[in-house]
Every structure is written in structure tokens, then in C-alpha cells.
Subunit: 356 residues, 2 copies
């Protein structure tokens, strides 16, 4: 709990003392004012987060965290839970969607075992921060203990900080893997936002109508049995959460505490962001929502935190795939600030009415 509290206390409210200067600089570049829209907003946000007027975007790291979910025994997923470790090996070998898109963005993927239900073979590309061998079935009782919930957050913080001190992270992304984790995420999001389970529950990896009804029933049951305390994010995480979700919330908190922009992936990352946001609302300004996913409820999560996604590509893979594409856009935005010529340097005339 100490590390968690220390990290939360370390998150500063963003001072907007560089906003006017950065806007002035953007306005001096050879383009009509504001004409690069969202890219200009992103550039300003990164300047404000980092406190650096020329923020570098070199070391790009996506944290893809894996964990298993006891609730899979209720038949809520289209895939068997063996897929979680199988996909972790796929991440390590570089063959998954996140590997392809992270390479495209020039980002490194840090693969973390937060709580896969079996022991994974050791590999230099795998960070083991296991909190347990999968969560317990939340439809029958709490998914984890409060101590485990805190540990998952602190392990996430630790992974970020180890990476940060090893090579200075300029921008972070979040990603998840865990069969059953849309179920946990819907439960978390429903409890925290207060929206009905039905509105918050989607088809995950692709279940049919019957399985969807069952999934909704299971989530309702889990909430009724466990009665998570809406105001207490750790209670929510322990009762209906997941180890990888806690880990990602930890990454988000740690990134904010080190003034590192963090690009949030899809629905599961959104649920992790809700946990982090509930623990410390100041994290919001450090977050950039990459996309709005197909998963029902993701839009509600984003609206709840007041985050505007960059794009909507009908993604529903997770792993950090949307975050990788988002990082690519943020990097483009920062390059605008760094590389464009000014009106003065380029000898380009300014707006007519300015000269009058």
C-alpha cells in the first residue's frame, strides 16, 4: 500500500503555464492558425504533461499485461482460457497483432504475466509479476483479496518504474490479454459509472446472443454477491476485477507520477483507466484515449472521464493495438511542433488582416 500511496501522491496537477507559449509557437508555424486541429491539441498536451517545450518521443513502450479470470468457468467467453498463455508466447515471439502494430510505431512491447493461471516458461522478453494463478470466479465471491488488488496495482507501478529507470520512457501505451477480461471490465465499468450492466456488456471476442445474455446474468450476479463499494476503487478491483486490469491501472498511475503521457487502448484498458481515475482524478490529463472500440460500454467509459478518442476503427482486439496506432499519431503531433518552419524562417506572408 505504501508504494501505491506514494505514487498517487506523486501525481501533480498539470500546470498550464506552457500552453500560451506553445500555442504561440504553433501559430508561428507555416499553416493557418489551428489548421492541424487535433494534432495541435496533442502537441500541447504532451508539452504540458512533460513540462518540456521540445518533448522527445523516442522511447515508446507498450505494456501488455496478461491475467486469467476464474469467471471463465461460467462460459462467458468464446475462447478457452488456454488462449491466455498461448497468446503470451505469441507476444514474446512477435507474431501477434500488437507486435506488428508496435513495430510499425517503433514502440517496444513489454509483456507482463500479471496472473496467468499457469507457470510460463522463462524468457528474457517476459516480465513475471504474477499476483496469483488467475482470479477466483467473481460470480461466487470476490475475484481476489484486497491485498492482491493492491499488489496488482503496485506490480504495475513497479513494471513501469523499472522500465522508466532503465531507459526513460517518453510515451507509454496500455494493452491487455486475458480470456474473460471483458466480463470483469464490464463489471468494473458498470459499478464505477453507475450505468446498467446491460448497457456496459458486449460480445467480447465474439459470443452469440445466448452467451451474451448469460454474460450479463453472470456480471449482475457477481455485483449482487460481492456488493463492491463504488467509492472505493480497490474494493471494486478486488471484487470484480482482474490482475492485469490492476496492473494496467498501476502503469497509468506510475506514468502520470513521472509526467509521462499514457495512451489508453480499448475497453479493458478503459476499465483500468477508470480504476486509476477513481484513485486519483488528476491522472485524466496524462491520458490520451486512442480509439473507441466496438465493445459496448467503451464510449460510456470515455465519456465518464471526459476523454475524446482519436479514432474509431471498429477495433476489438485489445493487446494495446489501438494504443500503438495512437502513439504513432501523438508522435506525428509532436514532430509538427519540432520540425515545421515558422512564417519568418520560411519567408511566408501571414494572414492579410494581421498586416492591416
Amino acid at each position: 500500500m505504501r508504494e501505491l500511496n506514494k505514487t498517487i501522491r506523486g501525481i501533480e496537477k498539470i500546470g498550464h503555464y506552457l500552453t500560451a507559449r506553445t500555442q504561440k509557437r504553433l501559430d508561428s508555424l507555416t499553416k493557418p492558425r489551428g489548421s492541424l486541429g487535433r494534432l495541435e491539441e496533442l502537441a500541447k498536451q504532451v508539452v504540458e504533461i512533460t513540462g518540456d517545450e521540445n518533448p522527445p518521443i523516442k522511447n515508446k513502450v507498450i505494456f501488455t499485461m496478461a491475467g486469467d479470470h476464474g469467471v471463465t468457468e461460467e462460459g462467458i467467453s468464446a475462447y478457452p482460457k488456454e488462449v491466455t498463455p498461448q497468446m503470451v508466447y505469441n507476444f514474446i515471439r512477435g507474431g501477434a497483432g500488437i507486435n506488428v502494430l508496435a513495430r510499425h510505431a517503433g514502440a517496444r512491447v513489454v509483456v507482463v504475466d500479471m496472473g496467468v493461471a499457469c507457470d510460463l516458461e522463462g524468457h528474457p522478453g517476459l516480465v513475471v509479476k504474477k499476483v496469483g494463478y488467475g482470479t477466483k470466479n467473481m460470480a461466487k465471491g470476490p475475484a481476489m483479496t484486497k491485498e492482491e488488488a493492491v499488489k496488482s496495482l503496485e506490480n504495475g507501478i513497479e513494471v513501469f518504474k523499472e522500465g522508466f529507470f532503465a531507459e526513460c520512457i517518453d510515451i507509454a501505451g496500455t494493452g491487455d490479454m486475458g480470456i474473460g477480461n471483458t466480463t470483469a471490465s464490464s463489471a468494473i465499468a458498470s459499478v464505477i459509472t453507475g450505468k446498467p450492466v446491460k448497457e456496459m456488456t458486449g460480445r467480447g471476442t465474439g459470443i452469440d446472443d445466448k452467451a451474451l445474455s448469460n454474460k450479463i446474468r453472470v456480471i449482475k450476479k457477481a455485483i449482487n454477491i460481492n456488493r463492491p463499494d463504488t467509492g472505493d476503487a480497490i474494493d471494486v478491483l478486488s471484487k470484480v476485477g482482474g490482475f492485469e486490469i490492476g496492473g494496467l491501472a498501476g502503469v497509468i498511475l506510475a506514468a502520470a507520477s513521472r509526467r509521462v503521457p499514457v495512451v489508453i487502448d480499448g475497453f479493458i484498458s478503459g476499465a483500468a483507466a477508470l480504476i486509476a481515475y477513481r484513485l486519483e482524478p488528476k491522472v485524466k490529463e496524462y491520458m490520451i484515449a486512442a480509439h473507441c472500440s466496438v465493445e459496448r460500454g467503451h464510449r460510456i467509459i470515455l465519456d465518464y472521464m471526459g476523454l475524446k478518442p482519436l479514432f474509431d476503427f471498429d477495433l476489438r482486439l485489445g493487446e494495446g493495438t489501438g494504443a500503438a496506432l495512437g502513439i504513432n499519431v501523438v508522435e506525428a503531433a509532436v514532430k509538427i511542433l519540432a520540425e515545421m518552419a515558422t512564417f519568418k524562417d520560411a519567408g511566408v506572408s501571414e494572414k492579410t488582416d494581421k498586416k492591416r
Copy 2:
């Protein structure tokens, strides 16, 4: 006219004979079916366009075409027309928004003088395909002759083909520069789509309400005086178009004739796309709309052709900036197809219901 007709005749209807195979391949990759949404659609589109099941996206070229507009004497722009040549020099020196975003996407920018109102200093980075020294004031008569309209299209075709034969273009993007060219584009789009001028006219580089009313009045006047024939794209281009708009329409036609995907930038590129589409509707399937711009009317243009933009970043700079970001996304999509592991290769279990 011969080159234009030959190019139009060379545009084949896309056969969808590879769609099923590509979908099967996408479904064999380690991800839930369809979970990469729009990226999967893009990958399929590029396979269909190129007829290549492993389409390379190496040589990426953005054609940024510049031209001046006689209608600027009506006071329809916030910037003086000297900005057109000044920005061309900025493109050549690499300091403009398009240079930054093209570098980010690993794309080359081909800068073309299609009709700047002065002679530009020679430079190896500048392709001169001048049709004239700016168009005439369309509020007083046709912007150009029919011969010039055809020449602008054919010069655009020529630029694309020269580039294509020199180094094989895998994907093309369109971009524009020309003070006054949102005025011409609104006129073209209003005539071709049949929508009122008012709905089709926006603030361009940033004019105030009074200047906007004047711009609308000028466009209405240009249409009333010239009476362009809606069904004849060359007539529309000659009466209310621009040399760079014709050139970009030529690039689009040439790209389609060589089965090269072409990423369409914002409003001006959209007007060029309308000209190309009216000349040969089959071009539509070769086009990928990068974004929906702030400029009023862009959405109408996209809807008219049935194009769904990839993103909406509130851009209104032109130059090909949105196309550069779009090319980056298309490349990511194609990499998914090329680089992801299959369920079989990665030893990952497939969906539960498939095994029953």
C-alpha cells in the same frame, strides 16, 4: 485528350476474386475474427486494388500540387496569393506540415507547379507542369479554357506515370496548395453534388463571417455566369476549377489505371476526387478517404461518393497532411496481413464453438 481517354479506359473494375481468400487468411491470424475492424477492410481493399496477396507498401508518394486562382481578386481568402509560391519553396525546403508528416509516414513528397502565377526558381525537388499563370477570375468568366482543363488532367496523369515508371509507386496520396482553392472546390462540389453553395462553403484558411458571405456570393456568381454542365466534369473543371485540382484528378485517374491505391486528403482533394469520379466512377474503389476535414461540405463530398473517412482530426491545412497520416494507417493494415502469426503457427487454440 488522347492520354486522358487512354487512362480512363485503362481503369478496370475491381474484381473481388481475392476477397474470400484474403478474408480466410485474416481469419487464420491470431485474433478474434474481424477484431481489427477497419484495418482488415483496408488490407482487403489494397489486395483487391493491387491484385497482389502480399502487397508491398514501400514506395509511398504524396503528390502536392500547387496552383493560383484568379478569383482571389474578389477577396475570398484570408491570405495574399503570394503565399502560394512561398509555400512551394517551403515544401521544397522540407519545412511545411506535409514535409513533417510525410517523413513520419516514410513517404516522399512530389511538389508540382501546376499553375502558380509566377515563374518559380528551378529546383531538383520541383516538378514544373504549369498549365498557366493562375486561373482567371471565375466570377467574371471561365477559370480556364477546356483545353487547359484537359491539359491539367493530363499533366497530373503524366506526373504520376513518370513517378510510377521511375520507381514503382505502391501507394499514392494527394495534396494541394493554392490560395483561393477552397473557393474553387466549393463551386465544383456544389455543381457536381447538386447541394446549395451555402452548405458547401466554409472558412478556408480562416475568414470571418463577412468574408464568408462574400465568398458564398462570389461562388454563386461564378456558377450563374458560367453555367457549368453538371454532367460534364471537364466543363465544370474549366469553368470553376483550378489547375492543381485538375492535376490531382489526373493523379487519381492515373493511380487507378495502374492499380495503385490512392489516399485522398481533405476538401480540395475531395473536389479533385469528384472530378475523377464523374469522369470514371470506377475510380471510387481505388480511393481511400483519409479524413473528414473541418471545411464545410467535405462530409457531403465523401457521402456523395460513398467514401468513409478513416479519422476526423479537425484538420484544414491541406497539402496532403491528412493523406500522410492515412497512408501510415494503410501501411499498418497491410503489415497485419503480412506479419501476423496464424493460429496454427503460434499454437493458439481457436474459438470454442468451432471445435464442437
